[in-house]
């Protein structure tokens, strides 16, 4: 065979033709590979120009493998202490986990109904979810997921193994909450701090121990100071200050550990006139940054808003769009020293960015 090849003599024209065929085949193979690469989800480099104070680092649009390689309206994000990124992939009823470089590690969760009506199907087993929203991670790496339509919080270890759930979605919580039928809590977001779990209900903050025992609650319907209307973001600062995105009131309220109001930033938007200056269009997710300032996702302004720990507005970051550092109804944010991660809901992606103050 080798001897035959050695004896093969090609004219210059034939050699060029042979090379051209090889190159064409290589090009076709490359194109097929690129098409496959682009069609799958997963990590994509988002490096690029600074946009309104944000430097894109990378974008994740899904695990990039399995039956559902792409996100479907991700609404919650959290950084672990080890730099892992946890994503509530809401419409897919699962949590996806990535390493600090944005590479997919594993996922857990599928659809399950935990409190069916008579005649309805009970499909919840440990780990199944029904519209997961907010997510947070404690110092041990345990993952807390707001299982919104099941009116409960689920806790998993750092490998996604179910540990426990609370409150019991069929039981009244404290003095009462907004879970369906008045039991459980209609939980939109969770924050873990100092051995306690701070959860948002439709009109209040409900505090549990990390084991799930009811501890305290504050807030109520209404429009006065400290009243809440469908809050969607909560975080706790190192000094114990609790920050809440009071979404339908278009404001952020800071509470102390007893539930007393420290300050409020923003106010309900009553009218649409151009003359009305407002701070927040629709505040949703919120995070306390390492310097103590807070970062608020504004879903209607399609930006991130920064405020000081004292409640003074600083500036907005990002803008609306589909390019890196642009957002389309973003919903959640978390901070990891020099980086932030944003659940860019309607772009069906998560963005890792550097905030340039």
């Amino acid at each position: 065979m080798i001897a035959k090849l050695r004896s093969l003599r090609l004219t210059q024209r034939q050699a060029f033709a042979f090379l051209a065929i090889i190159l064409a085949l290589a090009l076709i193979a490359l194109l097929i590979y690129l098409l496959w690469l682009l069609s799958r989800g997963g990590f994509t480099s988002g490096g690029g120009a600074v946009v309104e104070g944000l430097r894109p680092i990378y974008v994740i649009d899904g695990p990039g493998e399995g039956e559902k390689p792409k996100f479907d309206r991700p609404m919650g994000v959290a950084y672990g202490k080890d730099g892992r990124i946890y994503v509530s992939d809401t419409d897919n009823n699962r949590v996806c986990v990535f390493n600090g470089r944005g590479q997919f590690l594993f996922e857990f969760g599928e659809f399950g109904v935990a409190k069916p009506l008579p005649g309805g199907e009970m499909s919840w087993v440990e780990g199944r979810m029904n519209f997961p929203l907010g997510i947070d991670v404690d110092d041990e790496g345990n993952i807390y997921v707001a299982d919104f339509r099941n009116d409960q919080i689920q806790v998993f270890d750092r490998e996604g193994i179910f540990l426990r759930r609370f409150p019991d979605p069929m039981q009244v919580v404290g003095k009462g909450a907004s879970g369906q039928d008045g039991t459980g809590i209609a939980v939109t977001d969770v924050a873990v701090w100092d051995g306690k779990v701070y959860a948002l209900d439709s009109y209040q903050v409900v505090v549990f121990t990390a084991d799930g025992e009811f501890y305290a609650q504050f807030g109520k319907p209404g429009s006065g100071p400290g009243d809440l209307d469908r809050p969607n973001g909560i975080d706790v600062a190192d000094d114990g200050t609790i920050y809440v995105s009071d979404s339908n009131h278009n404001r952020v309220t800071a509470f102390d550990q007893t539930g007393e109001v420290l300050w409020t930033l923003g106010e309900p938007i009553g009218e649409m006139a151009a003359e009305v200056e407002y701070v927040f269009g629709l505040p949703r997710g919120i995070t306390v940054m390492s310097d103590g300032s807070i970062l608020v996702v504004d879903a209607f302004e399609h930006t991130l808003s920064e405020a000081t720990a004292q409640g003074d507005f600083v500036r907005r970051y990002g803008r609306r769009g589909t390019q890196p550092a642009e957002f389309n109804f973003p919903n959640a944010v978390d901070d990891n020293d020099d980086r932030i991660v944003v659940a860019d809901k309607e772009n069906n992606r998560v963005q890792v960015l550097e905030l340039l103050k």
Binding site: V113, R149, Q180, R230, E275, L282, G321, E346
Partner: protein, 357 residues
């Protein structure tokens, strides 16, 4: 051929003029900065106000980005995006379809959900106004047959904006229903009343109505109206006769034949017709919604009346109080009962009719 040099000279001059004109126009084009909005310009300055508005209006509160736009409003950008809309979308909206755009916010996290609240409790809806999957309207033909109509979604399918105006333009008068969506809806029947952004003239309706009632439903379901040619329907009262959702005959309490004019919302007093008919009922029929609404218990101990133990009312928003009746407030989007009837089979008929003998 002495004229040739002259012609050439003219041609050269013309070419020079054209070149300079091109340069000027190109430089003018480059001089236009499309990223900087013109001073004191708002969306309505170019697009005009929504159809139905003759002058800038001030929005009532609680409508969010829906309606009440003044000249110079900045709220168009909440939903519409000039440069970042999906290529296969419509109206520069953030999602490909109108349904998905609506669900961007109306997912249950800012108020109670529209679609999906039954599935979240393990119940498969028995009836739905199915959006973006069909344009076949039951009873859509005046002769009573189903009829294919042309709506606003792709393929002419029915979508949210065929019944609702996201701009609150040309909408029906407010009515006090029993569907509460936010914490500010704390007085039942609801106060202040809302119009649910229902259009006076839904897509395909041959007529416009001012009130929500039978005439509104009949705009699409023409063949279900009383007196429609070629088909015999249960008689219904029309807006022309002065009967609609907020102005029906209802019993004033339990065990009584006394009636009053009032809203259908808030309790089950409007769903019975006592025997003997009161003077207010005499000669009148029910409106569509007195048989087709959210599924609920009307009471059947005393046919045509509400017994003391059968008083049901709405005390809070959607499904949070298990004792509330109706339990879910999802009409006309989805229902536990077939055909969206408040009760099923004989129970429905017996609310108004007592069998002879």
């Amino acid at each position: 051929m002495g004229w040739l040099p002259e012609l050439r000279q003219k041609a050269l001059v013309a070419a020079a003029v054209a070149f300079i004109a091109t340069l000027l126009s190109v430089s003018a084009a480059y001089a236009f900065d499309e990223l900087t909005p013109p001073a004191a310009k708002g969306c309505p300055d170019c697009h005009g106000l929504e159809s139905g508005f003759t002058s800038p209006t001030v929005a009532p509160t609680r409508k969010g980005p829906h309606g009440g736009y003044s000249a110079g409003t900045q709220k168009c950008g909440t939903c519409h995006t000039v440069h970042a809309a999906p290529p296969d979308g419509v109206l520069l909206l953030p999602k490909t379809t109108i349904k998905d755009t609506c669900f961007t916010c109306h997912d249950g996290t800012g108020g109670n959900g529209v679609y999906g609240v039954l599935n979240a409790r393990g119940i498969t809806p028995a009836a739905q106004h199915r959006i973006e999957v069909t344009n076949l309207v039951p009873g859509g033909d005046p002769n009573g047959d189903a009829k294919t109509k042309t709506f606003s979604a792709a393929n002419g399918y029915l979508t949210c904006s065929d019944c609702h105006s996201p701009h609150d333009a040309e909408t029906v008068s407010a009515f006090a229903g029993d569907r509460a969506r936010t914490s500010t809806d704390t007085t039942f029947p609801l106060s202040p009343a809302t119009n649910r952004l229902l259009k006076k003239q839904p897509t395909s309706s041959p007529w416009s109505v001012d009130q929500y009632g039978s005439s509104w439903c009949g705009g699409c379901h023409e063949g279900r109206m009383y007196g429609s040619a070629g088909v015999v329907n249960h008689p219904v009262e029309t807006e022309t006769a002065g009967f609609y959702y907020d102005n029906i005959v209802r019993v004033t309490g339990t065990d009584t034949n006394t009636t009053e004019m009032g809203t259908l919302g808030g309790n089950n007093f409007g769903y019975v017709m006592p025997i003997t008919r009161s003077a207010q009922q005499s000669g009148h029929y029910p409106i569509c919604q007195q048989c087709h609404e959210d599924s609920r218990n009307i009471g059947d101990v005393s046919p045509g009346q509400i017994a003391p133990g059968e008083t049901f009312s709405v005390t809070t928003s959607d499904g949070q109080n298990a004792a509330n009746n109706p339990r879910f407030q999802a009409f006309p989007h989805e229902s536990e009962n077939a055909y969206f009837t408040v009760e099923q089979n004989d129970d429905l008929c017996l609310n108004c009719h007592i069998p002879p003998g």
